[in-house]
């Protein structure tokens, strides 16, 4: 029995085992980290991808509404559209006439849905439809009833148009039964109030969903002469020119056929001598009519894929500090007052007390907590030496970093910043205790007290929180900073409203500095606090109910209804420590149109606030809103404008088809990215698609009669629904196997 072959065999086997083991070890040493990295990357990717699109309709920019409409396979060909906006600015209000022309370029009867954004505070009050030489005037109706009548008219082949509010700033206009090659003109009138900030008046007309400006539009001079005449011009030229370019997709690629030419003109009567009038994003032609009046017309080759913004200011010496306007409607007078607080220089800024509350619960995990930390870090760096501050963090537990507010010394700020940097997201959300702690004002009694609340608002007890704010707010002002792509805007904006502060939304880390700077510029410069208003006459109904603080450069805007405009309106407040009052003689108000609608719109907002406060029930609020809307002819979440032509036009055997007006995405939006996967929808494919859709529709007579619903609500993004559990277990088992084999090897060698 020789030992050598045995030994060599043993040696060989050992060599092989060592190599095998090391191979495993190396592959694992490399493979496992790589897998771990990939796996770690997968997560943020998923969570990045989803919030981007998983925004609920309420958080979405107008542009994204469009995206969700384009999946319906039923589009045939979109009706061609032209749009004209005619604005009349008279003192504090702007009344707009929005005229849209629909031209059915197909040989079918179609239904068109047009989505248009309006400013938040706008009031839509009139709809007229022009069919040939007939004009149909719409009536305000309760929303459900209007919808039912519209559906009925549509099925019966009547021409009908319905304006609905989808969200406070997004309206849809549905037009049914547009005959082959027929043109229909729909005219909507709405009103918005002019914004005043930092001595500059401004007016914004959202044109993003509405259409691009067409360079081949008629000459501006002709347009401004007369709306109808101008309208005729602008409608004619593009349709002649574009008749050979069929619109195949409801959503058009940039640079594609511009089907929505826009014309726009503004008659500006500021009511005071004007200094400078300019349009921020579009080329305009400005004619001087008088000292205080201008006529502005959209000019040149401007593409209106962004909102139209007009700004104007008064000659410095004539800058109005108060404004008082009146409108008499029915038996009542409606008043609108602008009060600009005097600019009192405060040599030494009074110290404030600022309490920061940061949510580090589990729902803030990922980028949200980073945004919150960055925001708070910025905020802390902005504190002045004579400010007092405290930091409270909470999940289902809470920590007050200082037992009570402390002076903002470099040392205190430094330690607070270190504390904030170390915060990690974990645990549940109990927002009430930190809210109560932040509002606890038992120690300091004077001066400004501001609470800055950073959270995503993912809580269940919203009402409880709002109640707490209403009860405990005292002199504290609450500023909500909403973190993440989809914070609970309802809770945040209501909380800020009740807390007489503001709501700032931070959607990405990149936005932190800009948004927080804007917020802190405001926070550091409150002009007037403790604002109150009273009338010498009785029975004045004032809106808003809860008067906000006035910040630097912003006016206080009050709307009121009273039997007869007489007596005085007294506004009082505190500038720093000094009391301030101003009396406005109401009989000197100048006449302006649309004040009653501003008042009604604000009353509706007040009703919503009272509903939140629990002062009135849902039924009461709905009743009040419905009454206001019907009285003042406003489109709200409960009312719609409806026009139905009584003449039956569509032959019963010609099937109705739907088509959305093509919509343009806002500038800077990536068309392909927004569309998701289908990057290229070439015309042929679309045509095939449409033909197929067409066939299916003609085969199934009832299918096309489904109601068009708001595109804002037609699709739901689904969450990620796979756990990494199996992956983790597999990784774990792999590592275990490798470890065991190595161990085995080591032991074998040991024995050898």
């Amino acid at each position: 029995m020789s030992a050598s072959p045995n030994v060599s065999r043993y040696q060989k086997r050992q060599n092989f085992l060592i190599r095998f083991g090391l191979l495993l070890w190396f592959s694992n040493a490399i493979l496992l980290p790589v897998l771990a990295v990939i796996f770690a990357l997968l997560h943020p990717l998923e969570s990045h991808a989803q919030p981007a699109a998983a925004v609920t309709p309420n958080e979405m920019g107008t542009g994204s509404l469009l995206l969700q409409t384009n999946q319906d396979g039923k589009y045939i060909e979109a009706p061609r559209l032209a749009t004209d906006v005619d604005l009349d600015v008279n003192g504090p209000t702007a009344r707009a006439v929005l005229t849209q022309a629909f031209e059915n370029t197909t040989d079918k009867w179609v239904e068109a849905l047009y989505v248009f954004p309006l400013p938040e505070d706008s009031a839509v009050y009139s709809l007229k439809m022009i069919v040939g030489n007939r004009i149909v005037v719409a009536d305000i109706k309760e929303k459900q009833a209007a919808r039912a009548i519209y559906e009925k008219a549509r099925k019966e082949g009547k021409k009908a148009s319905l304006v609905e509010q989808q969200r406070p700033n997004v309206f849809t206009n549905a037009v049914a039964n547009i005959g082959p090659h027929e043109k229909i003109v729909v005219q909507i009138e709405y009103q918005q109030s002019v914004r005043l900030a930092d001595g500059r008046f401004s007016l914004r007309v959202p044109l993003v969903v509405a259409p691009r400006y067409s360079p081949q539009g008629a000459s501006p001079i002709t347009q401004q002469a007369d709306l109808k005449a101008g309208w005729g011009q602008t409608k004619q030229s593009p349709s002649r020119k574009g008749s050979d370019q069929p619109i195949s997709a409801p959503l058009m690629a940039p640079g594609g056929d511009r089907a929505n030419p826009v014309t726009l003109k503004v008659n500006l009567d500021a009511g005071f001598p004007l200094d400078d009038v300019k349009s921020l994003y579009h080329a305009v032609k400005i004619d001087k009519i008088g000292d205080s009046a201008r006529r502005i017309v959209l000019d040149g080759d401007a593409t209106s894929d962004r909102d139209f913004v007009l700004e104007w200011s008064a000659i410095a010496s004539n800058m109005p500090s108060v404004g008082l306007f009146r409108e008499h409607v029915g038996k009542d007078d409606y008043m609108l007052a602008y009060v600009m607080p005097p600019a009192v220089a405060t040599p030494q800024k009074a110290g404030r007390e600022v309490v920061f509350v940061i949510d580090n619960s589990g729902s803030m995990g990922g980028t949200s907590i980073e945004q919150a930390r960055a925001s708070l870090d910025y905020a802390l760096s902005r504190l002045e030496p004579n400010d007092r501050f405290n930091v409270i963090r909470f999940d289902n537990t809470m920590t007050k970093f200082f037992p009570d507010s402390v002076m903002a010394t470099a040392e205190n700020i430094g330690s607070a910043r270190r504390f904030v940097t170390g915060l990690e997201a974990a645990g549940g959300t109990e927002m009430l205790p930190p809210l109560q702690a932040a509002l606890d004002d038992s120690h300091q009694a004077n001066g400004l007290r501001q609470v800055v609340f950073l959270t995503d608002g993912e809580v269940s007890n919203e009402q409880q929180l709002l109640d707490a704010i209403a009860k405990l707010r005292g002199r504290s002002r609450i500023f909500m900073v909403g973190i993440g792509s989809a914070p609970n805007t309802y809770l945040m904006s209501r909380a800020a409203e009740l807390g007489r502060g503001s709501f700032t939304h931070i959607g990405s880390v990149a936005e932190v500095n800009e948004r927080m700077r804007a917020l802190f510029d405001r926070l550091e410069n409150p002009a007037v606090t403790d604002v109150a208003a009273s009338f010498s006459e009785k029975n004045a109904s004032l809106s808003p109910n809860l008067l906000p603080d006035i910040y630097h450069g912003e006016p206080l805007v009050l709307a009121a209804r009273m039997g007869k405009a007489a007596g005085t309106l007294t506004v009082s407040g505190k500038i720093g420590d000094r009391p301030w009052t101003i009396s406005l003689p109401l009989d000197q108000a100048s006449n302006a149109k649309g004040i009653s609608k501003i008042w009604a719109r604000r009353q509706i907002d007040d009703a919503e606030v009272n509903l939140t406060l629990g002062k009135i029930s849902q039924a009461d609020a709905d009743k009040r809103i419905l009454q206001l809307a019907l009285d003042h002819h406003l489109v709200t979440r409960l009312t719609s404008l409806l026009a139905v032509d009584t003449k039956r036009l569509r032959p019963t055997n010609a099937p109705l088809t739907q088509a959305d007006i093509p919509l343009q995405l806002p500038a800077g939006w990536d068309y392909n990215k927004l569309l998701g996967i289908g990057t290229t929808r070439d015309a042929k494919a679309d045509t095939r698609h449409q033909q197929a859709a067409d066939k299916s529709e003609s085969a199934d007579g009832d299918a096309e009669l489904e109601p068009i619903s708001a595109p804002a609500q037609t699709s739901v993004p689904l969450p990620q629904t796979a756990t990494p559990g199996m992956l983790l277990i597999l990784h774990g088992l792999l590592a275990l196997l490798c470890g065991a084999s190595l161990l085995f090897l080591a032991l074998r060698r040991n024995r050898a």
Binding site: L42, T714, V716, Q720, H731, A735, L736, A740, L743
Partner: protein
């Protein structure tokens, strides 16, 4: 392999201790990872027990009951498939936290049994594993926390990308969609979702 030969030449003692050390680390890491994976399943199963209790309580009290004090969400419905003998308690919302414990009801969709399309989503490898076994015409029973019970009949199944599912929450009629990730046996997460569509068949009161 160069290292391998070097290890041999250096001598066996340090190499051995290095190997043992590496093996120790690997085993520890393996145990940790496996435990983490296991914990996901354990959590999913355990949470359902607590949820079951909270749901029963909320049906009786008529108010939302949190399953544990620090929870961000609460049970809103029980989803049952009588043919398969499975059930799961669904939570409000579909945050990652909620889905770890049970199916989630999408906040921007109506409650099951209301006009429109209610959507529930859950993980394919925990609470909604049973979706793969669902067939057309199966009955789905949704018991809401207000005590009402709705029976839906499965009309069809489909696979779609998560952002192109074309689910209309305001559709006419009373509909239900159960959603989970697809394919079922995949280990990594992907963009596809498996959808089970159902229409209301019957309503049972309290």
């Amino acid at each position: 392999m160069i290292v391998a030969t070097r290890l041999q030449t250096i001598g066996s003692a340090p190499a051995r201790s290095l190997l043992t050390f590496a093996a120790g680390i690997l085993i520890a890491a393996g145990l940790f990872l496996a435990a983490q994976g296991g914990w996901i399943y354990a959590k999913a199963a355990l949470a359902q027990l607590l949820l079951e209790r909270a749901f029963a309580e909320s049906v009786i009290s008529g108010t939302p009951v949190k399953p544990w004090s620090w929870a961000d969400t609460w049970p809103v419905a029980r989803i049952e498939v009588p043919r398969l003998g499975v059930s799961a308690i669904a939570l409000k919302g579909v945050s990652g936290q909620a889905l770890a414990f049970g199916p989630g009801h999408l906040d921007n969709t109506p409650q099951a049994g209301e006009e429109g399309t209610a959507v529930y989503a859950a993980h394919r490898d925990t609470h909604f594993t049973f979706l793969r076994n669902i067939r057309e015409n199966d009955r789905l029973r949704i018991a809401r926390s207000d005590g009402q019970i709705f029976t839906f009949r499965v009309t069809h199944m489909a696979v779609a990308r998560w952002d192109e599912a074309e689910i209309d929450p305001d559709a006419r009629g009373v509909h239900l969609v159960l959603a989970t990730c697809f394919p079922f046996d995949a280990v990594t997460s992907g963009p596809l979702r498996y959808l089970v569509y159902a229409d209301l068949e019957e309503t049972t009161g309290k």
